[in-house]
């Protein structure tokens, strides 16, 4: 059983996944941030690999990516940083990023190095299911990594079921049609999440986009297995003097 599956077996509700950008705020902050996230209550960590043209992301995460790239962050450097991280971190870790840097690193080499480092899953939002099924899915599976697809309120039932079948670990339910960090109304999100629940999918459902504090986290957890916080966390990190205190304050606000 993968670490992600184990997590949901033990804790099926109120799972908190926090997104952070590798190499942000400092070039060597990656592990420090991850450790503090685990210490102060994150159940899952989504580690973003910075990219120059992050289409699905809003300004906050794009800015953190620019800083990380200016800090000299690369995939090769990330794997150096992650070399012994399993000695210090036990929560599941997912790498999130865009296809181009992964292709340049070499898709198979990337999966191999991720698995060897102790990474549990991947989110590559611009890898479509056709290419996943015909080319890349087999490689992901070969190295025992979970792969998480996104669905949105506009995704048809048939397609949700297909993406659920292709996914393992969990299914990422985007709360509204938007880029990350938007302030769109979460109005119809409950009926959408109930709809997903009624499908009786094989994977747990995690809600992301627009989750920023205790209220939105609680609301998301009512109809899903948990939620993902990204932009709000990056913003908090950006505004705090030291990483550890910033993370402690932010997470105690969300989980209190």
């Amino acid at each position: 059983m993968s670490r992600i599956k184990e997590l949901f077996a033990v804790k099926p509700n109120r799972v908190l996944n926090v997104y952070c950008t590798a190499g942000y705020p400092g070039p060597d902050s990656t592990l420090e941030v991850m450790e503090a996230l685990q210490e102060y209550g994150a159940d899952l960590i989504e580690l973003g690999m910075p990219y120059s043209d992050p289409l699905a992301d809003g300004p906050v995460i794009q800015e953190s990516s620019s800083v990380a790239l200016a800090n000299g962050m690369t995939i090769a450097r990330l794997f150096e940083q992650l070399k012994d991280f399993r000695k210090r971190i036990s929560v599941p870790v997912i790498l999130m990023g865009y296809m181009n840097p992964v292709l340049q690193y070499g898709f198979e080499r990337f999966c191999k190095d991720a698995a060897a480092a102790g990474v549990d899953g991947l989110i590559l939002p611009d890898l479509p299911e056709y290419e996943f099924e015909t080319e890349y899915g087999a490689i992901v599976k070969q190295y025992g990594l979970d792969f998480i697809f996104l669905v949105t309120p506009e995704t048809s039932e048939q397609r949700v079921r297909k993406l659920d079948q292709l996914s393992s670990g969990f299914l990422y339910a985007v709360s509204s049609s938007s880029t990350t960090g938007s302030n769109k109304e979460m109005g119809d999100v409950n009926s959408y999440l109930q709809r997903l629940r009624n499908y009786k999918l094989k994977n747990p459902v995690m809600v992301g986009f627009g989750i920023k504090d205790r209220e939105s986290f609680d609301a998301a957890c009512e109809n899903a297995n948990g939620a993902i916080i990204g932009s709000a966390f990056i913003k908090a990190l950006n505004g705090s003097e030291d990483v550890k205190t910033g993370i402690k304050n932010f997470l105690s606000g969300v989980l209190a």
């Binding site: 690369t74 296809m99 340049q104 479509p128 506009e154």
Partner: protein, 400 residues
């Protein structure tokens, strides 16, 4: 005719190994709707009738195929200019925006977004939105807004909202990112009119089909003039590659015709300030398709450079990547300086001031070894009014 056509991509939008639709799920409903409906809509007799009528009466097609006598003498060959600069709004871009606005209306869309580099596509989009009374938002790099002021003013006068893209290199690539983000945030009422043969499937094929009117006309026009539909060479400049796709389209499977694509070398291919994608790029994914892409070893997109805003793009359409990869296309590049010199030469020999983008195609004439028997078609994709400030600066430098 070869058994596999260069014209048409696979059902998933692949030209050889390039193309596809590498998009986040948030874009899926819009892109899928287009994939399923674009061919059917484009083939409706009512659509074709309206499209052809507007191209004739509004755009001013067919555009002339002009035998450039003095330029031909200069290069001791026969040069025909396909006068896309005489299209309404001053460039070929409107062939595509007319097609896409008619398609958007048939899809029930009420809001149009677009990206623009030199501003030609933005103006062409603002124009057709005014024509149809539809809201229009154009994303344009902050740097391009500065260097293409007349086109910004034109878009505003036509009623479009011009939104500056302030991220990254603040040019065409970043304007495209912002337009895609807008589309993600407005999944129901909005159609994104992409201006080049780039983006996720079906855009490269759809835009190439709308622009293919260029070579469709060239064939019968050349036959009237020379007795043959086939030239020896077709030359066009390539940024994303829409005018080249249109000028090449009906010659793609005529293997005797040499297709010459001219990219922008900026300060020189190896200067670090260039936009010559086929020379500098590797396979990669940008703006929803797999193609050739200027990028670092780590897969970060490199900020390109060209004096011409319309060619200042780190990628190239997947059709062109395939033409390069398969050897069907002959790819060259021209520097800022060579393009500038060519623009002045054409102005004085033919009384035509070309756009800076097109000037790159003219610059290639110096490097092709053309014979007196050759019949060369050059796609004069746009007129140079928008570039006058750059040209004036050059004249000052030369003391003219």
């Amino acid at each position: 005719m070869p058994t596999t056509s260069y014209q048409t991509p696979s059902p998933q939008g692949y030209y050889g190994k390039f193309g596809g639709a590498f998009i986040p799920e948030m874009l899926h409903p819009n892109v899928e709707e287009l994939q399923q409906r674009y061919l059917e809509i484009m083939q409706e007799p009512g659509f074709q009738l309206e499209f052809r009528d507007l191209l004739r009466d509004y755009v001013g097609r067919p555009t002339p195929l002009y035998y450039a006598k003095r330029l031909s003498e200069q290069f001791s060959t026969n040069i025909y200019l396909k006068r896309e600069d005489l299209c309404h709004t001053g460039a070929h871009k409107i062939n595509n925006t007319i097609g896409q606005i008619l398609l958007a209306l048939r899809l029930g869309k009420t809001r149009i977004i677009a990206e623009t580099g030199a501003g030609q596509h933005g103006v062409a989009t603002a124009t057709v939105c005014a024509l149809k009374g539809i809201e229009c938002i154009v994303y344009m790099g902050e740097k391009d807004i500065e260097r293409q002021a007349p086109n910004v003013a034109r878009m505003r006068m036509l009623g479009a909202k011009v939104v500056p893209a302030t991220s990254g290199s603040k040019t065409l690539k970043d304007a495209t990112n912002e337009a895609i983000r807008d589309w993600i945030n407005n999944p129901k009422d909005t159609h994104y009119i992409i201006g080049s043969v780039v983006g996720p499937h079906p855009y490269p094929d759809m835009v190439a089909r709308f622009q293919s009117v260029i070579s469709e006309e060239t064939r019968w026009q050349l036959k009237e003039k020379t007795g043959s539909e086939l030239p020896t060479h077709v030359i066009a400049c390539v940024g994303g590659g829409s005018n080249a796709a249109g000028a090449f389209y009906h010659y793609l499977d005529e293997l005797s015709v040499q297709l010459v694509a001219v990219e922008a070398a900026g300060h020189g291919v190896n200067s670090g300030l260039s936009a010559a994608t086929t020379a500098l790029g590797k396979p990669g994914i940008l703006h929803g398709s797999k193609s050739l892409l200027m990028q670092t070893e780590d897969g970060q997109v490199i900020e390109p450079h060209s004096i011409s805003a319309g060619l200042d793009y780190p990628g190239i359409g997947p059709l062109h990547a395939h033409l390069f990869d398969s050897g069907r296309g002959h790819f060259m590049s021209a520097t800022d300086e060579e393009a500038m010199r060519a623009a002045f030469e054409v102005a004085r020999l033919e009384g035509i001031i070309p756009a800076l983008e097109t000037a790159h195609a003219f610059a290639a004439l110096n490097r092709l070894e053309l014979k007196p028997t050759d019949q060369v078609v050059l796609c004069l994709s746009g007129r140079g009014d928008k570039d006058l400030a750059t040209y004036m600066k050059q004249m000052e430098m030369l003391g003219e």
